[in-house]
Symmetry: C2
Subunit: 476 residues, 2 copies
């Protein structure tokens, strides 16, 4: 029988992160390039990660009384232009379809985001203070016509996301929930994806087109570049005014409500891969892993049947509580199969050979550290569960330490330039002006990531009066 050849990752992560990333995403079969320029195919192993994110977040939505719905893919150009700032911000990225209807020449945008098309409906649905808060989310595909090079999960012309769109009676409630959602995203990132993030407010230059302000979570990749991983926008009343959303208050007086919108996308998967992976391939935190454990029986001609039987017993026990694969591909060597599960990032590999069976044990191998443990067969379920938690914690702690080491405080232009050159994330006092922000970008290619808090002193770049403390770094 012909053995299939399989090539592992051929570059080191710390030597060529970009090429390493491309190889891991494709060889672990998370995603693939498509013949459609700029678009990606999300393969089953990658899509299963997205489904885990959906499952987790649908629970969060439910707890917070947000209902899922679905709005049209197409947005008439006239809707798009109702909120001027919004239209201006998105126009360069919009894909238009040729309108086949003969009675109109109006172009239709393929949604880059759905504020406009959703709020048009909201204006017909919302009548009274009793309808508020009004909270809807949609899971959808969106299109933004990127012209920079495609990077699977991180920069593609189409991606999948969720977008939450809520309407509130008061400014206070809107503000509070805009913060609630960024906090939920922080939890999603840290608790589920073992990915620590910086949390803060975007500068006016970087905020969402049409928003009063934007809150963001940013994860830091091994090359020191920030990855914007989720945003929550306080839209104030501008969209409500543009789309005619109003409600009658308790005194039957007409009022304009307040709105926010918030989203995370399949980009999260890209960050996860880049942060945790190693030279052997993908490393998945157990809580997000579609396969948490792979059982690999080691076959010898004489003991094949017995080994497979024992492996099945382990499988039948573990499958009750965990996502497990039994790898019975007899036509592949044990070594090949070990490498395959490593490449695919499965948190724990369970090896089982005839000698192990004699000793009534199995070998549990951690993907994150490579550490092996010999565990009595009867103790496998308990130890397996413990190990999953240890791996999840270990990945988060390592990522936290890495992030900490990547952040550095700077006090002047020279330190700022040096730190950015060394691929650091800088934390600094900032004057908050658009001009100074633009200057930093020109000089260092770093962009503002998020405002941490109010601050005093001097701006590290222009020495003017500082208003806030902020992160700057290169970014994806």
């Amino acid at each position: 029988m012909a053995k299939e050849s399989k090539e592992g990752i051929t570059v080191k992560k710390n030597e060529n992160l970009s090429e390493w990333y491309n190889q891991v995403v494709q060889k672990a079969e998370l995603a693939d390039y498509s013949a459609v320029k700029g678009c990606m195919v999300i393969r089953p192993h990658g899509y299963a990660i997205w489904e885990k994110i959906q499952e987790y977040f649908n629970q969060v939505l439910k707890i917070n009384n947000v209902k899922n719905a679905y709005f049209p893919l197409f947005i008439p150009e006239s809707f798009f232009k109702k909120e001027a700032e919004h239209a201006e911000g998105f126009s360069p990225e919009v894909a238009w379809i040729e309108n086949k209807d003969k009675d109109t020449k109006e172009r239709l945008a393929v949604r880059p985001t759905s504020e406009t098309v959703m709020y048009d409906s909201y204006s017909r649905w919302i009548r009274s203070w009793r309808d508020l808060p009004f909270k809807i989310n949609q899971w959808a595909n969106v299109v933004r016509w990127e012209t920079k090079a495609t990077k699977l999960f991180l920069r593609t012309r189409e991606f999948l996301w969720q977008e939450g769109h809520c309407v509130y009676a008061t400014e206070e409630e809107c503000d509070k929930e805009t913060q609630l959602w960024i906090e939920e995203y922080r939890k999603l990132s840290e608790d589920l994806l073992a990915t620590p993030v910086l949390v803060g407010k975007k500068t006016d230059t970087e905020k969402f087109s049409g928003a009063d302000y934007t809150l963001t979570i940013e994860s830091i990749m091994p090359d020191g570049k920030a990855l914007q991983a989720g945003t929550s926008h306080n839209l104030g009343q501008s969209f409500a005014k543009s789309f005619g959303i109003s409600f009658l208050d308790e005194n039957s007086k007409k009022q304009t409500p307040w709105q926010n919108s918030w989203g995370v996308s399949t980009r999260l998967i890209g960050g996860l891969v880049m942060l945790h992976g190693d030279d052997k391939g993908l490393v998945l935190p157990p809580r997000i892993a579609p396969i948490q454990g792979a059982i690999v029986p080691i076959f010898f001609e004489k003991t094949k049947k017995e080994t497979l039987n024992e492996a099945k017993k382990i499988y039948n026990t573990l499958i009750k509580n965990f996502d497990i694969e039994l790898d019975d591909r007899e036509y592949q060597s044990a070594g090949w199969r070990f490498s395959d599960w490593e490449l695919k990032g499965v948190p724990i590999r369970i090896e089982l050979g005839p000698k192990d069976i004699e000793k009534q044990q199995a070998v549990l191998v951690r993907r994150d550290t490579g550490k092996k443990e010999f565990v009595k067969l009867k103790d496998v379920p308990k130890r397996f569960e413990e190990l999953l938690e240890e791996i999840q914690d270990n990945l988060l702690n390592n990522a936290k330490e890495q992030m900490k080491s990547q952040i550095t405080d700077v006090n002047n232009q020279k330190e700022l330039a040096k730190a950015i050159k060394e691929n650091k994330v800088v934390r600094m006092n900032f004057c908050g002006t658009r001009e100074c922000e633009e200057k930093i970008k020109e000089d260092t290619s770093a962009t503002s990531r998020c405002i941490i808090k109010k601050s005093k002193g001097n701006c590290a770049n222009c020495s003017g009066e500082a208003k806030e403390q902020i992160y700057f770094s290169k970014s994806y």
Copy 2:
């Protein structure tokens, strides 16, 4: 406090089915028209039904080793044209986007179905007989530029669906699984949606563009029109040849595989509404109902607190096993709230007033029959569960009887014309020729729905030699 006014359904189902349907879909808040011509908004109550269908069908996919994935929304025109029959069939309905890339003039189609874009990837992924069967499904939005009047869920330019796309080593396996999927759709329709269907093969005129043959499930609406509710296409080897999909068999010989594709869409929701609803609004079978029971406490000033407390107790017990709402809208009359839950199709309403509490009972009201039962509080969970099953069975049985009464055998042109005029589904012997099928359509406006089995005798329409028994009817 101002009470909100709410208008129920203002037409009788049997007087104006079309208008009745539009009102139910909109007033029960399942879906809404959008300012985007031809597109619909699926509102939370409707989307929750879709999620129930997804939940059910994801289990079926899992059992059958089909993995979910996601492929690009856009399809290059050149892909589209690789399979001539396919391209010809879909071209009139395709929406094209303006390609913003300057280095190409190739138009991109917004997917009307994904055979072409998926099989292009398949041609790179499938190598060996060990990769087969290769089974992928995607949940996605698709666009078909309908020019006929929009009908929410039934005829819209964008809809949601799942499309399964499998590749097999042998013709036999492909054939067998093409049948398996139509059988799974029959089960989904009958077991989950309480919607009986006709099952059979499409004629060559009605089959999927590019398929060897198409199997279909067709439900029959109260007006005698058939609704094509799910299809499974045996694609033979034509797409594999057009897209260069091949595999090495066990002898390392290059072979062309066999393929099928199969799908159901949000159209299922439209059929469900039209079949089961009544003059009070939506009637949902319990297994698909996002809300299975609504508890409506009846408030009087003095006993309000106690009544609400008792209602909460029932809620807390039932919510452990069922999807329940507690309707504590004090500002609406009990009658208004009863009507609201009827309109929304909730299978069981639980009424609870101070007199009921005195008697330690609640009133369970069935949505399907309107029958009331007084049930001791301690027996509510058990009776609630039983009633759900009774309602599910009753809806299916009624629908089966209705369908049976709608089908009639015809033996000649006169009977055929009369039966179609009377909005019947006809069962008849058929010669199987394209010309005869076309003639029937011209004369009666009925189209062939599906071939039941081989048959002998004379064609009911042209008196020529019959080859098969078939259903003809008007259709959506």
